[in-house]
């Protein structure tokens, strides 16, 4: 292909996106589930004030569940699909073509970013129409950067985790076993100051807390500035760096098989 490499990246992402949108499981976990949780949690809390910022439940849960949607669209989907593609020979077959490795890997990341941005916008739109949630206009750049950075970070972490999962069957339970407890202690499902201090400390070590917290701050109507929370973005970047090292050192195109 004589076109620019970036066009090849977009080409790859286009078909990855098409494949992902047609996957019922991906649609459910990335789009339907966060919306369902929004309705349930706002219902449970009666849209009273919650959380450290003392905002309405809806204003609390739109950013929190945006974090959930980003993680589903990036990390969860990626681990499940990459493990399955490795096992079913799809990755190896792509490897047998002239397409550069970074296009295959980057195309998947680009797909996740697009999905994250779209799902975040849907959550915001629903929150706004149904519950009157307002995103401070000044925060939009920060929110946008946080969504993109969060999505990219969780993609890299997904690639890193996929190197440790032996079979496609193990992918779904593994990602859920990692993410469900983190959602609970990181302020995605329950406002996190209600938790004992040691659990809060545990949460602070992991990236979920920092993605949720960065989004919570940006959505806080009392917040000022452009919505960037540098400490949280820094933690995400640190996790991304660790994930990148693991992924680059261990990534495999085919299951490691015995020689024949």
């Amino acid at each position: 292909m004589t076109t620019l490499p970036i066009r090849l990246l977009v080409h790859q992402a286009r078909y990855d996106l098409l494949g992902m949108m047609r996957n019922r499981q991906a649609r459910f976990f990335t789009l339907i589930l966060p919306l369902l949780f929004l309705v349930i949690f706002v219902g449970v809390f009666g849209n009273h004030t919650v959380g450290p910022e003392h905002v309405k439940a809806s204003t609390y849960y739109v950013p929190g569940l945006t974090a959930l949607a980003i993680i589903s669209g990036s990390f969860v989907n990626l681990v499940i699909s990459v493990t399955a593609q490795r096992e079913s020979g799809v990755l190896k077959r792509r490897r047998a073509t002239p397409v550069p490795a970074w296009v295959i890997i980057g195309g998947r990341v680009l797909t996740a970013i697009v999905v994250s941005v779209v799902v975040s916008a849907v959550l915001l739109a629903v929150g706004r129409v149904a519950y009157g949630v307002q995103l401070p206009t000044s925060s939009i750049p920060g929110v946008a950067v946080t969504i993109i950075a969060g999505s990219a970070t969780f993609c890299v972490l997904g690639y890193a985790l996929s190197t440790t999962i032996g079979s496609a069957d193990a992918a779904q339970p593994t990602v859920q076993a990692i993410m469900l407890p983190l959602y609970f202690i990181s302020g995605v499902f329950i406002p996190n100051p209600n938790l004992p201090q040691w659990l809060q400390d545990v949460a602070r070590a992991f990236p979920v807390q920092h993605l949720a917290s960065a989004l919570h701050h940006a959505y806080d109507p009392a917040a000022h500035g452009a919505g960037f929370v540098w400490s949280d973005l820094g933690m995400l970047a640190a996790w991304a760096a660790v994930g990148l090292v693991v992924a680059l050192r261990r990534f495999a195109w085919a299951p490691t098989a015995a020689p024949a």
């Binding site: 080409h11 494949g19 593609q85 020979g89 002239p98 397409v99 020689p259």
Partner: protein, 325 residues
């Protein structure tokens, strides 16, 4: 080793002069060692432009290892390997642009239709083939808008072949392309592979089916325990053309002793059936006919057969490889 240049019907223009054409695949002294095992012990191979070359061997004989080294998926321990003028272990995108690979097992691209799978792959190549034409080539035109994952096993395999062809490669690796097919799907797949020869492609085929090799291949190599034990055309592999034919018949009761010329060749089996291992089947059948005619009896189950490729293969892969050619 005889070349099959006279057999390949589709001469295609190359930079090389026809006589001294460089082989598409040249392997010399290839060895692959794993920790405690030498899987490939000194393999030499040459595959010429435009031929269908079948690579046979029992499981665990080193077949997959050799194929994966040729495809650039595995490093070798020793030896020279040249595929399309380059070392596959170091070749990059420009080389991959000229090579198509059909893996032993690979699923369709998740969520995409047949046409979309091909569109995705066409985007990887410098000068792809037209998509609808490629779909037609493998006989999937009616399934172009069907999800790849909804295809039958045979159709998926044909999609795999289409994906390997869409870049218009010069050389195609087909790893057990018809395993698990029903007989009619196998015949369709054979037509597709034979069609590749008409396009002037070079095909490197591995298979477990002797009828497949016999039907498709210009030349066959057999690997056993990491070594090539025979290489030749389907008709001459392992000295098949020089091997004894088998003449079988059941003499009626009271037929008397066999003619003296045939007695030393005979073996009597169950139900009194006699089998002759014959190097001169025409003369021996003549002698038999004479014998029966004079005795006034018939030999209604008389059967004369050349060794099948399968018998040659089994002899090569089970006995102590005596017949190297």
């Amino acid at each position: 080793m005889t070349t099959s240049e006279t057999l390949s019907p589709a001469p295609i223009p190359t930079a090389q002069p026809a006589g001294g054409a460089e082989p598409v695949i040249a392997v010399r002294g290839l060895r692959k060692r794993y920790a405690d095992l030498e899987a490939v012990c000194g393999v030499d191979l040459e595959v010429h432009r435009g031929e269908i070359f079948a690579f046979l061997g029992p499981n665990g004989a080193g077949k997959t290892t050799v194929v994966e080294i040729l495809e650039g998926f595995r490093e070798r321990s020793e030896g020279e390997v040249t595929v399309l003028g380059a070392d596959p272990a170091r070749a990059g995108g420009a080389w991959r642009d000229r090579v198509g690979v059909v893996l032993q097992e690979s699923s369709p691209e998740p969520g995409l239709t047949v046409r979309e799978c091909l569109e995705l792959y066409a985007g990887y190549y410098r000068a792809p083939r037209p998509i609808d034409e490629t779909i037609a080539l493998v006989g999937l035109t009616g399934k172009a808008d069907t999800a790849g994952e909804a295809l039958s096993g045979g159709q998926r395999r044909r999609l795999d072949v289409a994906l390997a062809l869409v870049g218009d490669p010069e050389l195609i690796f087909l790893d057990e392309p018809t395993t698990g097919f029903d007989p009619s799907a196998r015949r369709t797949a054979w037509d597709v592979v034979a069609g590749l020869r008409d396009l002037g492609k070079t095909v490197f085929l591995t298979t477990h089916y002797m009828d497949e090799a016999e039907r498709l291949a210009d030349r066959i190599a057999v690997i056993v325990a990491g070594e090539i034990v025979a290489c030749g055309t389907p008709a001459t592999l392992g000295g098949r053309d020089r091997m004894a034919a088998r003449i079988r018949f059941t003499p009626p009761a009271g037929a008397g002793p066999l003619p003296a010329a045939l007695a030393p060749l005979a073996e009597t089996g169950a139900g009194g059936a006699v089998t002759l291992a014959s190097e001169a089947p025409l003369a021996h059948v003549g002698t038999l006919a004479d014998w029966a005619f004079r005795g006034g009896f018939d030999l209604p189950d008389l059967d004369v057969r050349r060794p099948t490729l399968e018998e040659v293969y089994l002899a090569l892969t089970t006995s102590d490889r005596k017949d190297r050619s």
